[in-house]
Symmetry: C5
Subunit: 354 residues, 5 copies
């Protein structure tokens, strides 16, 4: 998730409140999905114009509007006007390089989150910014991409006996955040597999790629933590705020999310420590390999270099070398060579080099 | 204790409050053990149906119900209904991947803990989640496994003169938590032995497995700390809460537990530092070994390679090599070889290489 | 941005309030640029004497005086007298070795910031201290250098329909700080490129210069963080202060800046971690290279040193060496040489050295 | 001070308040030393039975009872009954594996400390737990061992003009704690010597034992810090408490102790940093040594291996080797050998290898 | 500044308030310099007896008494009696192993500081403890050594138009502390030079002494930080205290000092990070050097060891070696030698070893 700030930096010095979509994902068309429910009814339909919402403003039922794709800046602008949303909040919805945060205004809460999902086979994480705008009996969610992230919630809303149908906006808000937070457990599962794979690799045959893998996962962990850990203060702020949009009886649910967040942060910290440990093992492996290479060299060299000297001696062409004429010189020499080599091997064995 | 979040991640998006047992240990059958005591009497028996508890709800005696094995979700559900427990708490009882925590409700306290025990011969720790539900004169404990963890407390309850028999629920709660916390000292003892073993290994013959052992213990330490350190805030929260379930005169006992927790955390930190030190010693040992190997190679090579050159010189077949005919050339050469070798050895001795 | 404290240390023991320009950049001449605007009019002009400001003191329009170049100490002094500014503040304006900070007085706010810009091709950051003095309907900005940093704001002020024209000093203050903070995103972009370049270098051909680059960027990060992170408390202090110069409805904008600052600090921390990871990869690369070098040496030496011994043996000049006369000795020797070499190569292959 | 928790872990599950002596030092017999003083008189005597204290309970003089040796559990128990001390406090007195802490009750303060002393010649620290029980005009001190730790205070009490004689229990408490804290300075002195010795060793001849020494001192530092740093909060708690046992005019003395504690903690931190630095120097030394070894090998090998090849060439037995017959071939070869060797040496000199 | 606690440890167990001079610097004679000033007059003179101060007690002018040399314990004692100073404060004045701290009493403030100065050519810092005792219209300063540290302030006091002459004790206190704090900038300048020198050394020719230099500066940094960083809380405590000795209008000046302190602490942290970076570069340099050495060895050995084998082959004395009789054998061999060497060199070039 290494971000490019090109667009952001181009904005430097511009009038704040100038609405521009800043981000990496640019959907061709925004789609608007509307869910309106009370205990008795539940309507789920795609709408094409934001004006259709006017009818729901009067009704006391809960209306959830999910907008996927942020290309249509006008759409965001008209929602802003219709529901009296601050320009800075609209800017934040369109800029997908936000830290998770909570903005509280008189008539609404604005929550930014990151939804994490796995991408491809390797351990590589995908980030999607999700903005939640909670009004009195309206909830807006803004997503970068078109996917079926929210479909489990749609299904639960269809069930007329579920808790969701009998509850207000705050419980729907909880359900959305809870689902996004719980998706991190899938990431942690994948992390577990990836770490195990590296450990196996380390024990069987550590190569230079192993350290690149370790570093790559470490880097992903940094990004995951950056997207999860601000949730801690976000929910604390939500619980401490005196907004009437979140009822006191729903607090226990948000506290449950906070427990999950703490659990996830702890897991991430644990994996960081484990990866650091794996790095130590890798470095130790490399040193051990070097030691082994040097041992082989040293054993061969220390045995044969002296022997080569001695055979060299008797290869000299001096006229007066008495040994050359001795009958048993040659076998004696061989005997001493074998003695020397055995002694050396015995010494290396004692030193545990062999 | 590397956890798999498979089940957890499958729950993402589900209605919260849908009771499912999440965990690694699945007992075939749940057993219910009931202890009912006052100063005069103490009944200890296995019951088969939760309905039998109805009779004890009226009585003013302390009733402790210990449920081992969490497979029977219906059982937990009916306790929830009978004693008016929040669905999220019931969910937490069944999900054994909890951080130690305290949930306070109007009529009960819910405490989650991890009981640690040693497994096998190597330093490997076993974790069991224990939930404690403290009501006015009822205590429920929920355990993952069937074992005799609580039998020392059962025995003390048999003794009619013990403090336990004359006290209310809060003292029993203290006794249970105190026992679970004190079990960590057994772990610390084993840790001490394991660390000593590694240290001996390091000083005698450090091998690559040593670093794997160090890392393995380091990892266990992370998990132990994760299961112990939240107890600090848990008990602080318990002491600060204005619940009437824990009487002020029992506070001194909980403060005593907190001292033990602090002691355990300090010990864990100390072992972390010691293991880091052992790692440094290991790395230094490997370097030293390498140095020694290289010294042997260098000594042999630097002495015999030059000598081999000189014997090679007199092995050349030039027609005009006057030295070859000199009578004393051969012994002179030997003398200079010995001189050179002695000088080199003396030099290496001075450099403390030998 | 390694600073020299020569001038600062010379001041030790001097009367505080003795105005001296302390810094590295010394402009030849200070220029004064005046912008005076209300909803209806907007005057932008260069003025030559500070006395011209007297006329604007009466008017209720917002007057922004931007002074570039700090050589003219008298100028700062006369502004100090005219607007009743504390001597220590004037000293701080002239001393460009300040930490970003906020000083609050009865009638004005004094804010010091660092504007960062890129210099040259390599990743090298330039720092300029900018002092902002916010009075009732006057704003002074003091810059070290002459550049067009503020020209985007000048342009926006020309536009009579912009929010700036209808707002008071506080919104202009926000606009200036926002622009300076957002310039950091340009730095982060360059940082991203520089880190990627190092990573590519590491993977293709790690050389000693790579580590120098890593360290150089790490050092720049330290300086960037030093100039950014105090902004966090600065804006917190601004929001908590009970000054009437910043209206409550402008708070939301300053909170937005604070989000940006948090984002920037997080990015810097992330890059620190990434660079540490790159360092680990570099060190691992160097070890791997060494291993490879040693492998080549060991393979050649372990094969040919023993062989050389054997050819040496049959180069000896003993009179009684029966093998020398055998007809098949020479080809047999070659065969055993090839056998030995193959065995060795096979062994190295099995050890994954080749 | 690596502790064994055997006894502690055996206690897991036992009735709290069951008095057992837990610790490593078991004195044969407890001795009771009584000091009773007011401005006029000072009695110092050994008493044999705790019942003798009854007489002093009535008197308004300060009575200090120092008990050395904790084997006599009955003794502690009867003091507990006589002065109405909580069972948990009595347990803590007997268990010598306590963290330094303060327990405040209605009628007394209970303070646990560790007195540090040096043991033997090497830098090895001895720990003794000292419990102080401060009552209205009674002070009990409980020591593990029999030694003359308190004799300087006994002597000062003999002097009728000292501040101690005119003061109440709180000043005696201060004097005792102050003395125990100041004993750490002796440890720091020894630490200074030990660190200097290691540094000298590192600069002259670093061997593998050096790193063991560094780690051993590092480990002692961990234990020292564990016994000192809790004193910080202990005294803060003492100063904040609203107990009437410590008068406000004595607070300045306890603040003085706190300054000493801060000083000691700072020193310990400094030594930690210094030892880490020494470790870096050691690792660098080992690398340098390796470099030097390899240089010697490389110089010898790179000069003589090529030369040996050339002498080998002219040792070949080809029939048609024209050089062998040239008259000046042999001296020419020698000349070129010397030229090659000089060039190589010059090259190594330029590379600063020689 | 490694301190010896000999004297301190000897004091363990002594009556507190027993005045003894503890420190490393023992001046032969204390000198007393008196400055008495009001707006109109300024007397500066050396006095010989403390009794002369009596006259100034009545006057409303500011009286500054600077005592250099702490040998004369009687002098300190009589000041203590005359101005009613607590014994513990007098003890602290005489003990020059204090952390910077503030003690507030009814009628005076006691401030301890460390003045840093450079010693010799190498980067080595000298520490002097300076105690400041601020009374109603009296200031005492106690210095360990005789030097002209305060002469710039004496000069400024001579100038009847300076702010000092018209201000009370608090502004003089500020001026003294400000000067002592600002002296750190001189240290930072020297630190900058020392770090640059090490960096140059690292890039040109890193030797083992380089790491000793790095460690030595790192150690000095620890001591500098220890003497500077407590100033932060000291001044915070001063500003928060409700003493009447420091007037509210002087607070802005003390806040200015605090900015300087923060700046100095930040610089020290930066230098720590830079030195850690230099250490990494050093370690990398050593590894690179090793790599280079090994490359030279490997290139020479891998080329010439195989060649030597082949020349050895044709040096064998077998009777039946057909090649020896071939006419073109010798030149063919040379050709293949050159081919082999070229191939090897090409391979090493491709691997970027040459």
């Amino acid at each position: 998730m290494s971000e490019s700030f090109n667009t952001l930096s181009q904005k430097a010095g511009m009038e704040s409140g100038a609405l521009i979509h800043v981000g990496n994902v640019l959907e061709i068309e925004s789609t608007i999905f509307l869910v309106d429910y009370s205990q008795d009814t539940c309507i789920q339909k795609v709408i094409t114009s934001i004006e259709e919402l006017a009818a729901y403003k009067e009704k006391r039922s809960v209306t959830w509007v999910n907008i996927e794709g942020l290309k249509n800046v006008k759409l965001i602008e008209s929602i802003g006007k219709m529901f009296n949303i601050h320009l800075l909040v609209l800017e934040d919805i369109l800029n997908t390089h936000q830290r998770p945060k909570l903005i509280e205004d008189n008539n609404y809460l604005y929550i930014v989150l990151k939804a994490l999902s796995l991408e491809g086979k390797e351990f590589s994480v995908n980030y999607e910014q999700i903005s939640i705008l909670v009004l009195d009996h309206f909830i807006f969610t803004f997503k970068e991409k078109k996917d079926d992230l929210f479909s489990p919630i749609y299904k639960r809303l269809d069930n007329s006996k579920g808790r969701l149908r009998t509850s207000a906006c705050d419980y729907l808000t909880y359900s959305i955040i809870d689902m996004i937070v719980d998706m991190n457990f899938i990431i942690l599962d994948a992390l577990n597999l990836a770490t195990d794979a590296i450990e196996d690799e380390l024990l069987s045959n550590p190569i230079h790629e192993t350290i690149l893998n370790i570093q790559q996962i470490k880097r992903e962990l940094i990004y995951i933590r950056r997207s999860v850990s601000p949730l801690r203060e976000l929910i604390t702020a939500l619980l401490r705020s005196d907004t009437s949009l979140i009822k006191t009886e729903t607090h226990v649910y948000f506290r449950d999310i906070q427990d999950h967040v703490l659990h996830i942060i702890e897991e991430i910290e644990t994996y960081r420590d484990i990866l650091t440990g794996l790095l130590d093992i890798y470095i130790s492996s490399v040193s051990n390999k070097m030691n082994e290479i040097m041992k082989v060299l040293t054993i061969f060299a220390s045995i044969f270099i002296p022997l080569t000297f001695f055979v060299g001696v008797y290869g000299m062409n001096f006229e007066y070398m008495p040994e050359l004429k001795w009958k048993w010189a040659y076998p004696t020499l061989w005997a001493s060579f074998i003695l020397f080599a055995s002694t050396a091997l015995f010494y290396f064995k004692k030193k545990k080099w062999i």
